[in-house]
Amino acid sequence: MSPRLNYIAVLLCALTCLSPSAIGRDLAAIQRVSVQPSAIEISGQDRQQQLVVTGIRVDGSQIDLTHVAAIKLLDPSLASVDAALLSGLQEGETQIRIEAGNSVATIPLRVSNFSNYPPIHFEGDVLPLFSKLGCNSGGCHGKQSGQNGFRLSVFGSDPRADFDALVREGRGRRVFPGAIERSLIYSKAVGISAHGGGQRMSADSQDAQLLREWIRQGMPWGSEQAARVAKITVQPRLRVMLPRSQQQLRVVATYSDGRTRDVTRAASYSSNEAVISDCDSRGIIQTGKVAGEAAITISYMGFVDVSRIVIPQPGATVPVRPSWFTSVNMIDDLVWNKWQQLRIAPSELCDDATFLRRVMVKTSGTLPGVEQVRTFTADSSPDKRAEVIERALASREFTNYWTQRWSDILMVNSKSIGGRGAYVFHQWIRQQIRTNRPYNEWVYDIIVASGNSGQVGPANFYRGQRTPEDVTRTISQAFLGIRMDCTQCHHHPFEKWGQDDFYGLAGYFNGMTRQKLDDNRDLIYHPGHKPISVPVVNRLVQTRPLDGVPTPADDRTDPRPELAKWVTSPKNPFFSRLVANRLWKHLMGRGLVEPEDDLRETNPPTNPELLNHLAETLKASDFDLKALMRHILSSHAFQLSSQSTGTNYSDDQTFSHYLVRRLPAEVMLDAICQVTGVPESYPGHPPGARAIELWDNQLPSYFLDTFGRSLRESPCECGSSGEPTMAQALHLLNAPEIEAKIQNDQGLVSVLSKSDDDVGELIEHIALVTVNRLPTARERKTGTRLLQNASRRQGLEDFLWVMMNSYDFLFVK
């Protein structure tokens, strides 16, 4: 196909993919094209180069034209061009002409030191190929047992073992220099012989050439002096894109000797929001149809970089900031910036009744009472929302509820630490919450805890976490948002942390002792510091914080204070960001980072400036958690309606409307008791105790199990799932326990049926109790019908049942 035809074909394809007007307008509006790199050098191992062609529009905005532009070599014999990827053919120099619309750019090309394939390094060249092709992934040859007898270390974490697996094992069938193409590693990968994993590369690819060359060179390990990758860099790092459009990435690895190499086709790509934009193995980003943000993680040889993609609302104009959306605090400006960038207009402010219910449930896990709703909605004071926030934050229910939330994260589990341990630990957490003690202080106390677990609450932390490895995983995830699980066994696939980092942390807990005092109590202490070894390979690792200074071994001192200082330091960005993100998620329905406790670099926040602001605010207040909550609750962002507008319907990321969430298990059970006026009774707890107050998470409760109370088996709130099940729906609809509460002779219905309220008043009362607002016209009509069709008592029971099953009751809006 001639380049011209090629160009038309690509353009036609682009036209069918994009909307015709979009591409037409774009090409016409292109003022100039810019090409990266500005000169191409193909030499030695750097055998192919990815071009990125960017069109600059009149308004200065940019659009990717890489796969639209016509790319032509003056001397086509020097290199082939496929999807803007130049692969060397023979040595020489020429010019490349890049043409898009009316714009033309020309860059030089030089192919040198090419005819002889340079010496190949197994670890530097061959191993990345296995990662890229997925051979050594945990689902395939990388798993512990290997696959069909061929085992590689997961993600290439053990290059020597992989080298042996290829070159020395398999009775010489895996690599076969005598007939390269019959080597199993080659023939299976290109699909010549049957392979359970299918064809992984094509025979005419650079990857295949590399593998052939390595076998031809006699399967060398490579020179020990060979340069190693020092970093990788992606371009562009941030790009505003249209929905359903493409962007070519270009990834360059820089080696320890300063040499660079284009690794666009050798790197692996993954998206944190594939719906918004995804990236294929050629480094081409494809955006979806919805507006939003995504991060593409690029990894190569254990190094990572991120390219962020922003897709504004298609067809929408930049929103005009409504006059009511003033800046209560910085949060409002920072969310506004994001809406402006994405062209999303926020919903209206929510009404008073919605606000009251929302703020009460989110802070204190408790529904407002009837009188409270009436008073609040009738109040005309301009400060009334601020006052409600203060009252909620100061309430006893606030203390109970947040004690429960933190007990979930800290795994206060009577199954693993016993009843006494759970009670003492729970009481201790309650004390921290009640006095609003600075967060960094009480976390410090947990990390260094020692003593009699029957008296020292946080000492029980070390009864649930029994090995140095357990503690390491828990502390990293619970307080830093770093998931070290992967690094216990192999280098983290999307992070810079490896096994040495894991065991560097684990060293702080090595030797921790639990001396049994009696059936319910242990004496917890650290007898002195001894570094720990990586198991299997038995390599001793220096005890040190992540990226930190080693703590010298000293077998008479407890080293944990060193770690605790590092963890809770204001200089530790993870510490403040994680807790800020947790609180934001709890109050707003979604974390700025999701999952909320996975703060790795390659999982960036949807609004980094906002997360920074929250973390800085927290630090400025000396880790006053209540102050940060007040900051969030006061913002307009918290007080938006959950009802979407035209442009923000599909937005789940930027908080342009409030995110509707189901009442958590404990809160819902309490709400059912509160509404019906009939409490539960829990063994070992005083009469009238509420589910949010329970210190024992193992009390039998079909309701709490069905609605997903936290199992407290991992250091996150993920055990307390809001995920719906059929058993939940059936329980709400049919449970005899709930029906008994509705019909109870001391309950709400009984009281109301004896009152002299008329039907309208009864309906109003039930709506106020359940959904904490006046009834809608539909609810009045439905309620009237139910109440008129049956006896007063039965009608009340039926209407209460209906309201307790309505989404406005089950969800916080």
Partner: protein, 436 residues
């Protein structure tokens, strides 16, 4: 032993390459052959878990020539299949051996109850943790949750467990939506009823209908007016499923074991395993895809002979043949896979308390129906039923086989919330010779 469909596929690929077909053609054919068990998606499963450890050498794999301390007190009897013998404690099963495949070569290496339970319900050996508590402890989804996650939807919950939650029957990272619907009652109890599937009796049917109509009006109205979030929508899905269940007389009646004729109930036996098996059949008949039945107290560390002969096997030996016969009579056997499995077997040597202890090295399980060719024995053990001598079958293989029988791709890779790829059956291979 050759694996038919896999061999075909591989042969085909090789032939394809020789014949000069393009790679794309071959890929396409691979996809086609991957779907070649798609017609099994109407097969359902009754998964009976014998908790405690089912003694292989007293039930399915007797060693009459072994010394008395190994042989035990039971003797082989002939079955209705010439050449297949099982224990004289299972005369009922002997009459349906033509429908059963006896797998005598199961093997794994964990003799802990909780961990063995996990291994045999999920195919995955768990890492550290407490596996003997009574809470969901799954580190890998159990087969029922896999079926719920990957199988077709149904009016009834796709995965039901009876008479209680099976300790290793949890969904793990697949999430609560794929946990079992637990029938938290024993259908052998006189007052048996399934919780929450209908309004309490005192709220009359007519009244219940009124309530539901009123509720649907309000919720529908809210939805159209507000276009509310995803969480509400997914909850709505389950509300609708609940309505469908409550509205479907067939489904609701399926839970009511009292509707079953006395004659049939008696045939299964008025025992826990009997009535659970019967209820499981009713569930499958009404469209459930996977029913897990638990039957406990098989941990015969003492008085093994007495326990088996007088307490455990009579109920078992009545229920299993009754189930297979009933399924056959109703024309359901071909589409219902019955698995009788356990954590592990029991020690070859009888201990000082006249019991047998835990033995995972070699043990037997039984499969029938769902395309399994009956009247066969797969695998063999040595002269003490201590080690596998032929055709070892791993728990992973068992999981792969059950998934295959239900038309579910057993090579599927699942992803944990951390993004870690987890092969569903961990490389387990289908025991293809089971199938006709």
């Amino acid at each position: 032993m050759r694996m038919h469909s896999k061999t075909n596929r591989r042969d085909f690929i090789r032939m394809g390459s020789i014949a000069g077909l393009g790679m794309a053609d071959i890929m396409r054919m691979q996809q086609l052959s991957a779907a070649d068990n798609g017609d099994r998606s109407d097969v359902n499963c009754i998964f009976i878990f014998i908790v405690g450890g089912m003694p292989q050498q007293d039930m399915w794999d007797l060693k009459p020539d072994a010394p008395p301390e190994i042989r035990g007190d039971f003797r082989n009897i002939s079955t209705n299949v010439p050449g297949i013998q099982i224990s004289d404690v299972l005369p009922g099963c002997a009459t349906v051996a033509d429908r059963m495949a006896i797998l005598r070569s199961l093997t794994h290496d964990d003799s802990d109850h909780g961990r063995g339970f996990h291994i045999m319900m999920s195919g995955k050996k768990p890492g550290a943790g407490d596996f003997n508590g009574n809470q969901n402890n799954n580190q890998h989804p159990c087969i029922g949750s896999m079926v719920s996650h990957l199988g077709r939807p149904s009016v009834l919950p796709p995965y039901i467990s009876v008479p209680n939650f099976l300790n290793s029957g949890g969904p793990s990272f697949l999430g609560p939506s794929h946990g079992p619907f637990v029938i938290d009652a024993d259908p052998a109890a006189p007052d048996f009823s399934v919780r929450d599937i209908a309004l309490p009796a005192d709220v009359a049917t007519q009244r219940g209908r009124l309530r539901q109509q009123a509720l649907q009006q309000i919720n529908q109205f809210e939805q159209s007016a507000e276009r509310i979030g995803r969480q509400v929508r997914s909850f709505d899905t389950f509300y609708n499923k609940a309505y469908n269940l409550m509205a479907s007389r067939e489904a609701r009646e399926a839970f009511d074991i009292g509707r079953e004729p006395e004659k049939i109930r008696d045939a299964y036996g008025m025992t826990s395993i009997g009535q659970c098996s019967l209820l499981a059949r009713r569930m499958v008949e009404a469209g459930c895809r996977f029913v897990a039945v638990e039957n406990g107290h098989w941990d015969t560390h003492r008085k093994n002979t007495y326990s088996l002969r007088d307490l455990l096997c009579p109920a078992f030996d009545q229920a299993i043949p009754a189930l297979l016969n009933d399924l056959q009579d109703r024309g359901m056997l071909e589409k219902t896979l019955v698995v009788v499995t356990t954590e592990f077997g029991r020690t070859p040597r009888i201990n000082d308390l006249a019991g047998r202890d835990h033995w995972p090295n070699a043990f037997s399980i039984v499969m029938a129906g769902g395309g399994v060719k009956g009247g066969q024995v797969i695998g063999a053990t040595d002269k003490q039923a201590a080690e596998v001598t032929d055709r070892p079958i791993s728990p992973e293989d068992m999981v792969a086989t059950v998934l295959y029988a239900l038309g579910i791709d057993h090579t599927k890779i699942l992803h944990t919330p951390l993004g870690r790829p987890v092969p569903i059956a961990d490389g387990g291979k289908v025991v293809h010779e089971l199938f006709t």
